[in-house]
Subunit: 269 residues, 2 copies
């Protein structure tokens, strides 16, 4: 395995630069150490970053990758005097995009993730909504939901709902399907008028058994047999109400969210 | 205002490409319509994307910005036959990074955000932990926390904790400071042995008054006078225990999280 250090150097949170860190997954034969250096907004802090780059180079036996977002040109150019492989969001993206749009970009720090950002307020409101409508906690306010996730207990509804709210500002309620629903053989009454915004999650029985066993080992609830029956009945209920669903077994909350968004947001016209 | 459409075209979730959408905030004089086209993994879907690009061009009176992440070279090149301003994650980042690392990148779809990703399991565990340790819900397991956020009710502890867990895999508990604590004049007993991992949040009284009034209008709890007193006493408690704190009034959860991470994670050696 190759070892390399990746620095995320930003004059603000470093979150946009950090998101590009996901691209490192395309190089599974390299073992990356990721180091975040947010709020690097003075020459003194740039010097510290340069020291760290030098140390990492010696330690790894190869120059680091530096993903950087620095609005100030002096800071940017000083950092680039180091020997590293630079991915510079300003010179790669923001400046060229400014030429395309024929506009000078703002270069102040913290522009991308401030509370002044265009969607921040909506995202915070969605998080509050989602936390207050987790796990069928309340039936009131469901008309406000943009999506209602349903599925058996522990199939991934909660983290997916929160991701939808936090990342996309989607008000996502979630509602568990429980033994009472299976006995009755219909979806909970309260959901009947919201069928158009319900999305189902399902999961493989073996996986559910393992997840539930962590919480309640050796219980009827966690038994493979009960998991199989709950899943089959839940899928039957969803099929009967023509609800689209996705299997969470091998999908991340990011993947599930992208699938759900496609359903609830129509493509551009 | 200039109008432009921005397409995020990906063969998978489009989340990495979407993260670059934050950079658009650097151009406040352009009004962007953002369109996500995830799972664009066939030639047919590329054609649909091309149609949408054409329509947006006519509608906006200018060519769109296309931020794209397509592993397959044929799909990539076909899309680029459209007239748009392209930001191509593969040709801008992944391929050049492969040259630097002397490794051929994986080009399959869904690599960046699959459950196979290096940190996925930790992040899910952190989310569960954080939801189970929200708002002082339980005193058990606090030794597992990587950070414990404290502060008055409604100062931003919950969304910040969840962001830390979801984005960075940090097990973040949070604990409210309540009237009992203020009367006693000390932090809750249970926190005394965890002082080294406590981080405080504070907020301006006017802002807290407005946030609390949304939930409980005209209550003593929400009154400006009570908010002022709670905040002053909470800050006094934190000062007395030498706890670092940050003001959430004008900071996003992303900014707060970056500040908190700096405190709990030491820079690279």
């Amino acid at each position: 395995m190759l070892h390399r250090t990746v620095f995320f150097v930003s004059d603000s949170t470093g979150i946009t630069a950090g998101a590009l860190g996901k691209l490192l997954e395309h190089f599974p034969r390299t073992n990356f150490t990721q180091v975040r250096l947010p709020f690097t907004d003075t020459l003194d802090k740039i010097k510290l970053a340069q020291d760290a780059i030098l140390e990492a180079t010696e330690h790894d036996g190869g120059r680091p990758v530096v993903i950087m977002s620095l609005g100030n040109l002096t800071l940017r150019n000083t950092l680039k005097e180091s020997n590293a492989y630079f991915i510079d969001l300003f010179s790669a993206f923001i400046d060229p995009l400014g030429l395309e749009l024929e506009q000078t970009p703002l270069t102040g720090s913290g522009i991308a993730h401030s509370i002044m950002g265009s969607s921040y307020h909506d995202r915070m409101e969605a998080i509050n909504y989602t936390l207050n409508h987790d796990d069928g906690m309340t039936n009131s306010g469901l008309e406000e939901a943009q999506v209602i996730l349903i599925g058996v207990s522990r199939c991934g509804k909660t983290p997916t709902s929160i991701y939808l709210a936090m990342q996309f500002g989607v008000k996502a309620a979630n509602y568990p399907l429980i033994p009472e629903d299976f006995e009755r053989g219909t979806l909970p009454e309260i959901l009947h008028k919201h069928l158009d915004k319900i999305f189902g999650l399902t999961i493989k029985a073996e996986r559910l058994h393992s997840v539930r066993s962590e919480r309640r080992p050796d219980s009827f609830y966690a038994s493979l047999d009960n998991c199989r029956k709950e899943i089959a009945t839940a899928e039957e209920l969803m099929r009967h109400s023509s609800i689209t669903w996705a299997d969470s077994t091998s999908r991340s909350i990011e993947e599930l969210s992208a699938i759900i968004l496609q359903k609830i947001r129509k493509p551009a016209k």
